[in-house]
């Protein structure tokens, strides 16, 4: 974000900082109030003949209730932040953009990417859907959580509850890949030692040693891997891995999928720390900016050689 945009947004940020303080005050009041009610109820139980356990149970119940209500207290601040800060930041980064804080890329996108094992559509949740155009390339991305959580499994007739790690959690980015040749390329970070493609693909070694240090590439056809991964694109992907960390990506029949793992929602407002610091907003869009640089690399390829629009 440039200083001009920051200067334009500063009054809104200042108002949001006040709203955040008010939200925290309301949250503190909620906890104190609910815990006090829980304590009174516990004391009433003790008076009726209960023990310390009853008092503690009443307090624990009150804490659970307060924890359940807390997101609702912070929700208006978060939504206003997304509407009044995140949306203008995105509008600054894209030529045309639609932002839906409660939307998500579809479960089919995750499945079509061929990057992660498929999970039932109802187990794919997400937020902060962004659909935009940059340099004539249409992109969409959102935070996604696919699968995971507690599951019941039967082993020899005996039911067992096990915890399963999510198939993917992080930012899923989908862009048009304007190359007419059909083919599949799937790449995982080199450090994901056990990651293997879900379908039978050939391991391909590319000529860029910097890129090869960060990624292992599998493709339906060796030449297609070289075709999809142009030198400019490989350089952009290597730079991305060095700045933002591991990234899995695939090119599947005209679509580019980029999966940036992480448990932190990148477009979520900070609940602590200074809200007015310009550094915060520079870091805020850094990963999105890096993803858009990859799109620039794609656009560059198209402008030099690709389809005539």
């Amino acid at each position: 974000m440039d200083l001009k945009t920051y200067a334009r947004l500063r009054p809104v940020i200042a108002a949001l900082a006040r709203e955040r303080r008010a939200a925290w005050a309301m949250l503190a009041a909620l906890w104190l109030g609910v815990l006090a009610l829980g304590g009174l109820f516990g004391a009433f139980l003790v008076r009726l003949g209960g023990g310390t356990a009853h008092l503690l149970a009443a307090l624990a119940g009150a804490a659970a209730l307060a924890a359940w209500l807390s997101p609702a207290v912070l929700y208006p601040f978060k939504q206003r932040f997304k509407r009044e800060i995140v949306k203008p930041l995105l509008e600054h980064a894209f030529e045309a953009v639609t932002y839906a804080p409660l939307g998500s890329v579809s479960a089919l996108d995750l499945e079509a990417s061929l990057l992660f094992k498929s999970v039932p559509a109802e187990e794919v949740t997400g937020e902060d859907l962004v659909v935009g155009r940059r340099g004539g390339v249409t992109v969409r991305f959102s935070e996604v959580r696919a699968g995971g959580g507690l599951r019941q499994k039967r082993r020899r007739g005996e039911a067992r509850i096990t915890y399963e790690a999510p198939a993917f959690r992080g930012l899923l980015f989908v862009a048009d890949f304007n190359k007419p040749s059909p083919g599949i390329v799937v790449a995982y970070p080199e450090r994901w030692l056990l990651a293997r493609p879900l379908i039978a693909l050939e391991r391909v070694q590319l000529e860029d040693p910097r890129f090869e240090r960060h990624y292992k590439v599998f493709a339906s056809d060796r030449v297609f891997a070289f075709y999809a991964l142009s030198p400019v694109f490989m350089e952009a992907l290597a730079a991305f891995a060095e700045i933002a960390g591991p990234l899995a990506f695939s090119v599947v029949y005209g679509k580019l999928y980029l999966a940036l793992p992480g448990s932190r929602n990148r477009l979520e407002p900070p609940l602590f720390g200074p809200l007015l610091s310009p550094r915060l907003y520079q870091g805020f869009m850094q990963e999105v900016g890096l993803l858009l640089e990859l799109v620039e690399a794609l656009r560059l390829n198209r402008r030099i050689w690709g389809q005539m629009s």
């Binding site: 000529e207 060796r222 030449v223 070289f226 690709g306």
Partner: protein, 188 residues
């Protein structure tokens, strides 16, 4: 005595395994080069077939590019008569550079840019060039892998027994290295 024989047998077995594995790997690498070369040849054939259409379409509009068009036609004819693959690939490299420069120069002809036939040809040639660039990179990567195996110890022992020699990588022709004359474009 028995133990010595056992050790010798294990060593012999290891040597046989190494020999078989290296032999198969070298054959796979050699086949990969041949396959990549086949891809390049198919694309070059496609481009070779498109050139007469391009020349015929451009001739009527771009009269100032007569010299370049004649060079393209002459080069195409030399490609058709090339004695061996090395010469043909060298000439094809020159053709890539020449066509690239021609397409840039043709940007200066608005009537040509409005011609649907030319636009389709330009798109087809651009696409073939891009596929060709990828196929060359794939070929060169295969050659580098093969050459490493042929020259590095201990696989070079098996390679020399098989009579395998390092292969040359595909290089762009001189015309591809030559920078286009941007001044001419501004003057036109």
């Amino acid at each position: 005595m028995g133990l010595t024989l056992l050790i010798l047998a294990i060593l012999a077995l290891l040597v046989v395994f190494f020999f078989i594995a290296t032999y198969n790997r070298l054959i796979a690498l050699k086949n990969q080069i041949d396959f990549s070369r086949g891809n390049i040849e198919a694309l070059l054939k496609k481009r070779y077939d498109l050139i007469p259409n391009l020349v015929a379409t451009v001739k009527a509009y771009a009269k100032h590019e007569r010299e370049t068009l004649e060079k393209v036609t002459a080069l195409r004819s030399r490609i058709g008569q090339a004695k061996d693959d090395a010469e043909r690939f060298k000439l094809e490299g020159e053709m890539s550079g020449l066509l690239g420069r021609l397409l840039v120069q043709l940007e200066a002809y608005p009537e040509l840019k409005a011609n649907e036939n030319f636009l389709q040809l330009q798109a087809a040639l651009n696409e073939i060039e891009e596929q060709l660039a990828a196929a060359r990179r794939a070929y060169n990567a295969a050659v580098v892998q093969f050459n490493n195996a042929v020259e590095m110890f201990p696989s070079n022992l098996v390679a020399s027994w098989m009579g395998l020699k390092p292969r040359p990588v595909f290089e762009a022709g001189e015309a591809a290295h030559a920078a286009p004359n941007v001044g001419n474009l501004f003057n036109s």
